[in-house]
Symmetry: C2
Subunit: 555 residues, 2 copies
């Protein structure tokens, strides 16, 4: 099943029929509580502009070119309708949503193309070269760094959004080598459905899972919620096929190679700048019967971190570990409160544990282990729990895990709900080595909060450890602030800049798993050094001498 965009919001997250997992009374309580804590009046609802009122620039493509494109890939697969162009006008970053919701789209692709195979993609590239068009590959469109923004640089006539979602078939499954080959436009649920039906899983579950594609994961060097166990997309990728302006590149499908730089590593993180990923072979595993996820409370972030580090070197097969800082732990309590319930167990419990020393600095850890044998999973879980307890952890049992599993892909809906009520949430993430992490966390959170105070009058900043390694971890930051009455994009940009500067100054990377896109490109010279940047540009030049592929992104 290919993606059906008519079921999806054109200006918000996910399915039209789905929204934040909060009842009406809960929503009201959350909004009231946030307004009170931020010291702002509870603002009126901000209704996004409807598609009928949206303002798009007219398509710059003439009928002749559209006909040629149509002849190459099918006339019904070359689309210039307002809704198609709006659906492909942005990714799903906060500034994307601000732009879409304002109805003033500013930019949109001049046409949206739906190729069905690698030959179609190559044909589109040939025509794009001939007519000086640029191409933006578009999978699920869930980039949060401006990765699918339809930028039309000087010297190009127009932008084609190349939607890969018709490339959605399972091509081969090798049960002996435990690999599967897919067309790269397949979305997360379809990919897992194909594998699950045969008893396998890829185990790659980014937050965007329901609305992102295999090709997008590879292009952005994605990580998933269980990448502690399965490894990021870089660890899962065996080989890829790329259609580039200079022809096809197929990397060799072997478990490891030492023949110079690994070409597959050039495809990972290429963000559509080298070509379009049309096929990929990935490592799969037998789908485990059990995913046991439990919660634990720590007295502070530092002791939670010590527990994670101890679990990292324990040899236990952790599938996930997510440690919220104190502020995020508090916010998640707020989101779990239900004012219609007379007895609030969570609130009572949290009250009770204060006496045990789990006070304002307390931090919640979620941790999981997968397996097939209940006894073994239970034994491993008990060992993991014992390590946590040794660092002052208070076991919270399976309930937090069950609720995480239920709502694991729902978080992005929260952003739309808050935007409706005048609050912005932005997320940024980085990786630090352990010795830089605690200070880095503090500095970045402070920079975010300070920027929110300056540019929004108030704000919360918080974070969690989302992925961990023997040598460090990914810290995922959230900032929540009241939207300015006007120039919300300028407001976002100022906060983004301050946060990114703090990340870079603290020794973190611009991104652990979101990518570079447009938003992080200004910092790339700092991260990669002038020579590193020159190397990336030399690669782009080698694959795309005309500079037609995803211009303005990456470097």
């Amino acid at each position: 099943m290919a993606v059906n965009r008519s079921e999806l919001r054109w200006n918000g997250w996910g399915r039209v029929r789905e929204s934040v997992a909060l009842s009406e009374p809960q929503q009201l309580a959350v909004v009231q509580s946030l307004a009170r804590q931020l010291g702002v009046p509870q603002s009126t609802r901000r209704v996004p502009v409807a598609i009928a009122e949206a303002e798009l620039p007219p398509s710059r493509l003439d009928r002749g070119i559209l006909l040629e494109l149509g002849e190459a890939i099918g006339h019904d697969q070359v689309r210039t309708s307002v809704i198609e162009r709006a659906q492909h006008a942005a990714g799903r970053s906060l500034p994307d949503l601000l732009r879409l919701r304002s109805g003033k789209l500013g930019r949109a692709p001049d046409a949206v193309l739906y190729p069905e195979n690698a030959q179609h993609v190559a044909a589109v590239m040939g025509l794009a070269r001939e007519h000086a068009l640029s191409i933006v590959p578009f999978g699920g469109g869930s980039s949060v760094v401006g990765g699918v923004d339809p930028v039309c640089p000087q010297g190009k006539r127009a932008v084609l959004s190349l939607d890969t979602t018709r490339l959605h078939r399972l091509l081969a499954l090798d049960g002996e080598s435990l690999t599967a080959t897919f067309e790269a436009g397949i979305d997360g649920p379809s990919l897992e459905a194909e594998l699950n039906a045969r008893g396998y899983t890829l185990g790659h579950f980014p937050q965007s899972f329901e609305h992102s594609t295999l090709g997008g994961w590879i292009a952005a060097r994605s990580s998933g919620q269980q990448s502690d166990g399965y490894g990021g997309i870089d660890a899962l990728l065996v080989s890829a096929k790329l259609v580039t302006p200079r022809g096809e590149l197929s990397t060799l499908g072997v478990p490891r190679t030492a023949t110079g730089p690994d070409l597959k590593e050039l495809v990972l993180g290429s963000e559509g700048t080298l070509g379009v990923i049309v096929e990929a072979t990935v490592r799969i595993r037998k789908r485990p019967a059990i995913h046991d996820v439990r919660g634990m409370l720590f007295r502070d972030f530092a002791s939670g971190i010590k527990a994670i580090r101890a679990l990292q070197v324990s040899g236990l097969p952790m599938s996930m570990m997510r440690l919220s800082d104190a502020r995020e732990t508090e916010l998640s309590m707020l989101l779990r409160q239900d004012p219609t319930r007379s007895f609030d167990f969570t609130a009572r419990f949290m009250q009770g544990v204060r006496g045990l020393g789990y006070r304002d600095e307390r931090c919640a850890l979620l941790f999981g282990i997968e397996g097939d044998e209940p006894m073994r999973v239970e034994a491993e879980m008990l060992r993991a729990q014992a390590i946590g307890v040794r660092h002052g952890g208070l076991p919270l049992g399976k309930a937090p895990g069950e609720s995480w599993k239920r709502d694991r892909f729902r978080a992005p809906y929260l952003r739309d709900f808050l935007l409706d009520h005048g609050f912005a949430i932005d997320t940024m993430e980085t990786a630090f080595s352990w010795s830089k992490l605690e200070l880095g966390h503090v500095r970045v959170v402070q920079a975010m909060a300070e920027a929110a105070r300056v540019h929004a009058g108030a704000g919360f900043a918080m974070g969690h450890i989302s992925h961990s390694y023997a040598d460090g971890a990914c810290v995922y930051f959230l900032v929540l602030y009241p939207l300015a009455p006007s120039d919300t994009l300028g407001q976002w940009h100022a906060i983004k800049r301050a946060t990114t500067d703090a990340i870079v100054q603290s020794g973190g990377t611009l991104s652990h798993h979101h990518g570079v896109g447009l938003d992080h490109a200004p910092w790339m010279a700092q991260e990669k050094g002038p020579l590193g940047l020159a190397a990336i540009r030399a690669l782009r030049q080698a694959f795309d001498p005309e500079g037609m592929m995803n211009p303005g992104k990456l470097a």
Copy 2:
């Protein structure tokens, strides 16, 4: 402690005082047995030419340039003596040894330089550019693919061999992040000594461990004997610093990054073509107290493979798995025989197990698990053993493991010993996905044996699985044949060509861990495709526009 080359053979493997781990009677028995099996007369000893008789081309460098180099890095660190040039005239491949032993070196570096730091390296590059010299980075000099061959291309006046072994210090150890930063010219034993003294290990033990360097491991994308457990050098590398003709490149030291292509992946496998690796930060671990290695016998290669695949997905923390095919199992029995012992336990044992169905096709597996807690290691070992038994394995206990541990770095001495007696051994290796492995193994062994028959009149070919992954494994091939009376290099080349063609045709890579160098370069267009090759060349061009770095290698 830096490497002391005066203790090392200039024309053979390792230390002058060390040699093959066989007693005189054992040596005689081996040579007699091989001659009998190959159906050739027991040849007379072939004594390699002594250094005093070796013929080297004269150095092309004039005194002026040598003085400038000496001013840059110290006059005593610019060397043009016959022994220094001979020591840096080749790596340690079979053709290298044939060339060195013949005394007709054909090529040698025009000078050998010993820089002490990154500034020295940069200064040498500046002078090399000015005087149109080429530079061959040289670590341990153990390349088996011609990676350190002093090739002087058209347009260059001379070749400098840049010996990195004075860059040998531990610069930092971060016990919290479990990383260590070394100068890249440090050799294996010195690196482990620094770490072991502090309770850590890198866990990287390639066959060349005693005579190779950290920088060389990175440049060649090395794997070690325990990389099943620790991962290859790619998994161990956090960041690297490279001095290139266009300046320094320092990659960011974070556990993971999604900011476009990972620059560290360009350094891995760069084989000295982009610059000189001067520093590297690597992941370290607490050194485990126990390394339990045991043997197991399988009825045939296929059942051994099934056991390895089952162990791969078992979740057991295997530190190593090495499965010899029937021919190699037989050869290792031969090497273990001792004609001076009246009762040969091994021979008796092998005789005995024939009755249990372990006959001519029997294959030996070595498998290991590391840990600190004896009870846990024992329990895991029993689980591993049970999996093996389920696939028809016969446990052989710890003796084979102890003997492997004792002699694990001695195997290369065997080659010199056999060359002394007129027999050549060459090794080649590849990685296959599991579904291609069994057929690939058969085809490559057949191609090797056939090539040996055609070009040497007779020969054995065999192989073992040296590294395994969920999706496939490295197969390491050996061919043993009688040396031709003349043109031994032509004989080698014909056999190498046939073997490599068979590897490529069977879906394997040109190398799983040896690299490309000169020897595999002719096949690189086939492996990487024209576009992949163009990308690698564009990278070289970006770092080294004058083409001075390790010319002729890689692509």
